[in-house]
């Protein structure tokens, strides 16, 4: 990697200040950024580590019942501490990457990076989560803006993510055989006012909601409600690991399985 400075602030305010420097880059768990640096594919002048900020750590339940997760909370912590409150989300966290990834990688890092095959974007979008930053709150529907693109401004830090807790939810991930990222992942969440379905891994535009499936499930929350519904293969990712048609097919399969497994 190229040489850089590193700061490890202990408050959000200090982190935001540190990130104002030119070519400064926030560092979450480093599960994407560090390999990128090692390949010399990025050259930040300064890394600002968010892992020492106490107020960005941990899981709690808000007054409105939402599960609130600090932006610097690792997947392993979420899998443990959210289990009693939002088991579908905890289960997703417990299957991201491998133990090393789960003990370093953070929810804020994952959402800020918005890898089109990452798991957390599906949970956030399907849960109608709120992405809380150092200066505003962003609805998940407004936050995800395409592959690796988000509503975050330069230097803006995800401090917390708030997940309304659904009546039932499940995440089904079909693994890309090499990376074990989601070849296609579908998160289904059933709320009192309707069902939300979010798909990761499949689309060239990153995570998306499948409106037809949501409408069908809101009327009838069962796998058979999906009969005859498919997503268009156009716009699906096609690569070494599967065609667009295959990914579109897996969206249906995973969605049905998620509804069947939702609890």
């Amino acid at each position: 990697m190229y040489a850089f400075d590193i700061e490890r602030p202990s408050t959000i305010a200090d982190a935001v200040t540190a990130l104002q420097g030119e070519d400064a880059q926030a560092l979450g768990g480093g599960q994407t950024l560090i390999p990128t640096l090692k390949q010399r594919l990025a050259a930040p002048s300064k890394l600002v580590s968010l892992s020492g900020i106490g107020e960005m750590q941990g899981v709690c339940v808000g007054d409105d019942g939402a599960v609130c997760i600090g932006g610097a909370t690792t997947h392993a912590t979420v899998s443990r501490e959210a289990a009693a409150h939002y088991p579908g989300l905890a289960a997703l966290a417990s299957h991201i990457g491998d133990p090393a990834v789960r003990n370093r990688g953070t929810i804020g890092g994952s959402l800020a990076n918005n890898d089109p095959a990452a798991c957390y974007p599906a949970a956030a979008l399907a849960s109608g989560a709120t992405i809380v930053t150092n200066n505003r709150e962003i609805a998940a529907d407004d936050y995800f803006q395409g592959m690796f693109a988000t509503a975050l401004d330069e230097g803006e830090v995800i401090t917390e993510v708030r997940f309304p807790v659904p009546q039932a939810a499940n995440y089904q991930k079909f693994l890309q055989p090499a990376s074990r990222f989601a070849l296609v992942g579908v998160f289904v969440a059933k709320y009192a006012d309707g069902v939300r379905v979010a798909v990761t891994g499949a689309s060239e535009n990153g995570v998306f909601r499948w409106a037809e499936a949501e409408a069908a499930f809101s009327a009838d929350f069962s796998a058979s409600a999906l009969d005859g519904l498919t997503v268009d293969a156009d716009g699906m990712i096609a690569d070494l690991h599967g065609s667009g048609a295959y990914r579109a097919h897996l969206v249906s399969v995973n969605t049905k399985r998620a509804v069947e497994a939702a609890s």
Binding site: Q39, R40, F174, P177, A178, S179, F181, L183, L240, H241, G242, S243, Y246, H249, L250, V253
Partner: protein
């Protein structure tokens, strides 16, 4: 009662204590005072003319010691190929120069274009970014059939075409095979791809070159399976360093799988550069570099035709293969699709007529060479797949069809030039039926169907020729080296023993299994015996470890040397016991006079050899150390039968291996635990090839599976618990231990059974799928199901 020591016992691997506690000493652990680091600037295009390389700015950067380009290596030789294949017209193969650093032309992504030697690795890397290349890109030659066509862009302008050789075997059989196929009652045809693989040993390659001006001594520390081969190839052919001025050391090596047999440009570079800059030069491959510079494996495109008479007896076999050589000929590249492939096409069957045609192709890709099994998996895969297809077409049981055509009498001379000394294919098949519970399959299939899954059973046989190889034979076939091995048994004064062996252990457990043999012969505890390997300054000139040869060839040398030691020790004992040496017996570490109670211990005899006060100095030299070289009379022919059961998820195409059973005949077995481990590892790599691994290039010659993000290695949860058995033993008839070889069997024997099982599963679900090319990824299986 299992033995607890000697031949047939399973002591735990003594080397694992250091490997599992982080105490192994690998090449990257070697750091020498004053050492520099090299960063290789590698091509990021597949094919280009190098118009100029401007290193001036880079040379001025901090920490740069020296920058080398192809021009610096004009005066030295190219990286040699160790095997000259003669084509079917009697002409030698086309053999382009393989420069240490690209000179004038870039021929594959990853080829070295310049080398920056720096005080630190980061400084070298910084400077490499400042090198300015002026390139003119050329079309990349990737597809082998297109490469063979007239008018194709040539990988090497100085060759007549991209065809390295067009090999026919046995050429005299060509017309007879054609006729037999015309006349056959039934011909089954299959076109298939044997997918290109990257070996991916856990330890990447490393080279540290060192030069001592005071005595003109070169030392290369390197990750090699065969340090003497590297010394021979690099010293004699590339750099012109005589053997006594070149030491090659391969310490602990973290897996090779064939890819660390070959002599690589980076080794020659570090050795050359260490003298040029008069400081040690170190290179440690990154994983990314490994993907684009370690020799790849397999990559055959094949059409096979199996002819049968009306009673389903095999009458003839014809195969036509395009074999990828990559951009240059790696050390054994030319031998893999020919002598390690064509000679195995008879398999376990008495097919009377066989013709094998192989066109070896140059392409703008990384060189392709031996990978675990090397040619034999390619032969086995096509043969066992076409037999399975034939059984389906003829409506007969695939096991019965195989049995009907088994070779049953030994020795058996195949129509493809090898003679199987011994075997019992019926025995391994019967054992397989037992351990795989073939009889219970139908019930298991019903159970799977209840769960919405398609279950399939795939069976195959395999035979391999290993224990490589009789030198006079391979010499006739074009090998440019002998393939004997050597061992020195050095008995120390107090009776402990050091055995210096030409074989190299990089996962095989030689440090445990070789002493078991000596312990059995002499009757002293295994912990009194150590194995020394991996350093040309310490070991005799043996040829290293590959082709499942260590025990069959080097182990035989060790036995011969130990026999010499024992014979001499008996003479010493006879003197001490005042008896005739013909009457001396050695048992349990005691020499005794037959029919008497007179005896002397091993340690007393060895002490006498080194403190020869009461010693027949007029008849026998003092000391007790013997060397033997062993050249095998034939290959050894391990064989067996494998069964795989899969479940296929019809919704997604995902294949899960539910059961895997292997019945192998390895002849006599020294350490059953180690042999099982070798089979386990081999099956993991075979399953990896069958289901997961795929080294893919795009049409521009970019490697699109260039990291673990896209190249799928088998993981523990991809594999079932195996049932392996090696109780069927027909000992090799021509080596002193009666051993065959077990290192490659799992990788050779497993891919066809996996594919056979998946096809069987899909057929059971009403899908008329007859073949899917490996790897059988979920998307490929799903595509096949939906196009059927």
């Amino acid at each position: 009662m299992p033995k607890d020591s000697g031949i047939g016992a399973s002591p735990k691997r003594r080397e694992d204590l250091r490997f599992l506690t982080g105490a192994g000493k690998y090449t990257d652990d070697i750091n020498i005072h004053g050492q520099t680091y090299v960063h290789f600037l590698r091509a990021d295009v597949a094919h280009a003319t190098i118009n100029s390389i401007d290193t001036s700015a880079a040379a001025a950067m901090p920490g740069v010691v020296h920058i080398f380009t192809g021009a610096d290596f004009e005066a030295v030789g190219g990286i040699p190929c160790g095997w000259q294949v003669t084509d079917r017209f009697g002409e030698p193969m086309q053999e382009p120069k393989h420069p240490v650093i690209a000179h004038g032309t870039i021929r594959h992504v990853g080829e070295i274009v310049a080398a920056v030697v720096g005080e630190t690795l980061e400084q070298a890397r910084d400077a490499a970014e400042a090198i300015v290349l002026d390139l003119t890109e050329k079309p990349a030659v990737i597809d082998m059939k297109a490469a063979a066509a007239d008018g194709s862009t040539k990988v090497h302008d100085d060759l007549t075409s991209n065809i390295c050789y067009d090999w026919g075997f046995v050429e005299e059989n060509r017309d007879a095979v054609d006729q037999a196929i015309k006349d056959a009652a039934h011909v089954t045809t299959l076109e298939l791809v044997n997918n290109r693989l990257v070996a991916n040993p856990m330890e990447p390659r490393v080279a540290v070159g060192e030069y001592s001006r005071s005595d003109d001594m070169h030392t290369l520390h390197t990750t090699s399976q065969n340090p003497h081969v590297i010394r021979l190839l690099m010293g004699a052919f590339v750099l012109g360093i005589p053997e006594h001025k070149l030491r090659v050391v391969a310490p602990d090596v973290g897996g090779g799988f064939g890819t660390k047999i070959f002599h690589y440009a980076e080794e020659a570079f570090c050795t050359f550069a260490a003298k040029a800059v008069n400081r040690p030069v170190k290179w440690t491959s990154t994983r990314s570099e490994a993907f684009m510079s370690d020799a790849h494996g397999r990559d055959h495109v094949t059409k096979i035709e199996l002819a049968m008479d009306a009673d389903n007896n095999f009458t003839a076999l014809r195969t036509e293969t395009y074999a990828n050589m990559g951009a240059y000929l790696s050390t054994f590249a030319s031998s893999v699709p020919t002598w390690l492939h064509g000679t195995l096409m008879a398999g376990n069957y008495k097919t009377p007529l066989i013709y094998v045609n192989v066109k070896a192709m140059f392409t703008n890709t990384v060189p392709v060479d031996a990978y675990r099994g090397a040619g034999r998996p390619e032969a086995t895969f096509q043969l066992e797949r076409v037999i399975d297809k034939a059984a389906r077409e003829r409506g007969v049981d695939p096991i019965a069809l195989r049995r009907q055509n088994f070779v049953t009498e030994f020795p058996y001379a195949t129509p493809v030039a090898v003679e199987y000394d011994t075997g019992d294919y019926e025995a391994t098949m019967a054992k397989l039926e037992e351990i795989a519970d073939i009889g219970g399959f139908a019930a298991r299939r019903t159970e799977s169907e209840k769960n919405g899954k398609l279950r399939g059973l795939g069976v195959n046989c395999y035979i391999e020729a290993c224990g490589i190889a009789p030198s006079n034979l391979v010499g006739q076939l074009g090998a440019r080296a002998g393939l004997y091995d050597a061992a020195t048994v050095r008995v120390n004064a107090t009776g402990s023993i050091s055995v210096m062996v030409g074989a190299h252990s990089h996962g095989q457990g030689h440090e445990t299994s070789f002493p078991q043999v000596i312990s059995e012969m002499i009757g002293i505890p295994e912990d009194q015996i150590d194995i020394v390997h991996g350093d040309t300054s310490k070991i005799p000139f043996g040829m290293g470890t590959y082709g499942s040869r260590s025990l069959a060839v080097c182990g035989s040398a060790m036995v011969r040397a130990a026999e010499k030691v024992i014979n001499k020790a008996k003479k010493i004992a006879a003197h001490l016991l005042e008896a005739s040496d013909a009457d001396i017996e050695l048992k349990d570490g005691q020499f005794s006079v037959a029919g008497t109670d007179k005896s002397v211990a091993w340690g007393d005899v060895t002490l006498a050899a080194y403190v020869p006060h009461n010693y027949p100095l007029e008849d026998i030299e003092p000391g007790l150390e013997e060397t033997a070289f062993y050249d095998p009379a034939n290959f050894t022919y391990p064989a067996g039968a494998y069964a795989c059961e899969v479940e296929v998820d019809p919704d997604t195409g995902k294949v899960t291996i539910e059961r895997f059973s292997a019945a192998d005949d390895f002849g006599n077995v020294i350490n059953p635990m180690i042999v099982s481990g070798q089979v386990h590892g081999g099956i993991a790599q075979g399953v990896g090839q069958a289901l997961l691994e795929n080294c893919a290039y795009d049409e521009d010659g970019q490697l699109i599976s260039a990291s673990y993000m896209d190249y799928a290695m088998p993981r523990a949860d991809d594999l079932p618990f195996y049932t392996v058995d090696h109780s069927c033993q027909t000992p090799c008839t021509h080596n002193p231990l009666g051993v065959k070889g077990c290192g490659e069997a799992g990788a050779i024997g497993s891919p066809p059974s996996v594919v056979n099982a998946v096809v069987d599963a899909l057929q059971s679900g009403g899908k008329n799928v007859t073949h899917i090319d490996m790897p059988l990824t979920p998307s490929r299986v799903w595509d096949a199901m939906n196009n059927a």
